[in-house]
Subunit: 334 residues, 2 copies
Amino acid sequence: MTARISYTLADVATRAGVSEITVSRVLRNKASVAEKTRERVLAVVREMGYVPNRVAGTLASSGSNLVGVVLPSLSNIVFPDVLRGIHAALAPSGYQPVVGVTDYDQEIEEQLVASLLSWQPAAMILSGLHHTSYTVEMLRRAGVRIAELMDIDATPLDIAVGMSHHRAGIDTARYLHGRGYRRFGYVGHDRSRDLRAARRYEGLRQGLAEAGLSLEGEIAAAAPSSTSAGRELLGQLLAAHRDLDVVVFSNDDMAVGGAFHCFAAGIRLRDELALFGFNGLDIGQALPQPLSTLRSHRFLIGRTAAEMILEPRGADARPVIRDTGYDIIEGETA
Amino acid sequence: MTARISYTLADVATRAGVSEITVSRVLRNKASVAEKTRERVLAVVREMGYVPNRVAGTLASSGSNLVGVVLPSLSNIVFPDVLRGIHAALAPSGYQPVVGVTDYDQEIEEQLVASLLSWQPAAMILSGLHHTSYTVEMLRRAGVRIAELMDIDATPLDIAVGMSHHRAGIDTARYLHGRGYRRFGYVGHDRSRDLRAARRYEGLRQGLAEAGLSLEGEIAAAAPSSTSAGRELLGQLLAAHRDLDVVVFSNDDMAVGGAFHCFAAGIRLRDELALFGFNGLDIGQALPQPLSTLRSHRFLIGRTAAEMILEPRGADARPVIRDTGYDIIEGETA
DNA sequence: CTGTTAGCGCCTTCAC
DNA sequence: GTGAAGGCGCTAACAG
């Protein structure tokens, strides 16, 4: 492998017998280039294997095709789903996502935002509505469109795309109450980091309170959600509270683990103990009895956000909230 | 939100009463700047919320901190796992992954490679060892380190990090034969696109042939792998072949679906029918009976590759293959 | 339809 | 320890 010896516009121009700007116009599909010239230039480009230098192009035109994407995690399928949606909407327009992962840490988010903004992105996509004040200042100053994903329970800088996790919690309580369940348990994961799970939890408690109920038993891991955590924690919860008739999980990963505990312990789902999740993951729906849960629209959130940031911002400059909603999946476990 | 009004080095320099180059030196931690000057400059930088323009910096110095990452998919947790590993190794060094997704299409890969190379990345990470000839030419010409992931069954351009899927297939056959299974079935997904699954399949057949056996029944979907596909296909396979004693799945997603079919149909795992997967996903290990499978090291593959591409290439320029291997997980289903 | 000129913001090189 | 000049590769704006 030789050292980097990439060609420049000037090289192509010389070989094609035209000026740099003509080659530039051909490559950017600008009008006003004779068909014959265009063909000749394109032939030379292909022959030389010329790849334009977008770094230079961006500097000259002050507009890149990069979109900064800051996500809290990639461990759970939720954020890859969002990223797929983003990618699906960006790719046809030739935009490239540049990805950073914060591990749910706002300080890391701040550094990432600075780093991504230094690439003069066309837009920024973040997760959640809470950031450090310096992050917010940098974002405002950047003068590009900003989408904040997943959550719509506060006011965004520019665009929020997601659902209300608080209402989702309330609706979970109402739905399960409506189906006759009265003795509620809860199995959760690390709420101090997953603020959306915390919102659902609060909504759930509020919904129960409105029905004159409360959680009879609850347990939460300090760790991120996982199937194995759900399985273990349900076992522990049931050991302490034998009379629950329904258990709400912080998400489907946890709930599927709960289902596995029931399989292993010979507990009949719904008849003996009802389970309810959150997210509507495939794995839950593929269970022998499909999981009762609430479907979030993760791919849609990513795709919608990416579509919206590509549109120029109006002069009014008021924050926009796009609610992608959620559906209750009846399933067969609650 | 106002228009983009980011400051430049010159703005900072003026306010700090020094020249641009001094500010530049401070920000890049170059020596030969007086401590007092450094402090004053840094104070001004923070006060103004100045964010350097890396586009300009890259153009001037011809070296970026971007790493192009081309993956076939994000739908399956496998590639997010790889991406996590890449991110984990890149982040401490200040490198940023720029991600493209090919959807297993070499033409899309070619376009993505061109697009990513146009950002003058410090290195490129791809998946698999097969690319179009133009892709290969562009990559060679780029003069940067190139890692090809997942597979080591052919010669890479520069670095290959992964495992031999062919040997994995052979070892699966040997292992199961060693445990006394003789009547083999296979449940797969779209092999025309997932070439590594195809390699494992071929290895499996070869391994069986060496033991004087063959697949008594097999079935494959034209679709990507999924839990629900695994569940349905196992049902179909068993309907046609009642006497199998073990079924090998193209991966864990499919195998977990198979386990769900068995739960629903009342088939006792291992006693009546053994199941074997591939990947060693958490979900399989969280099953009431942990799935017998072969663990690939996806995070390790990503992390190793990212570490290797950050090291300068030696003068000898010979391709390097790093085998991250795999482990057999005995589990309780085979 | 094509070309010329003048930067984009920063960093390298050389001078002081 | 600090600064001035020039250029990275490309494109906007203006000529012709």
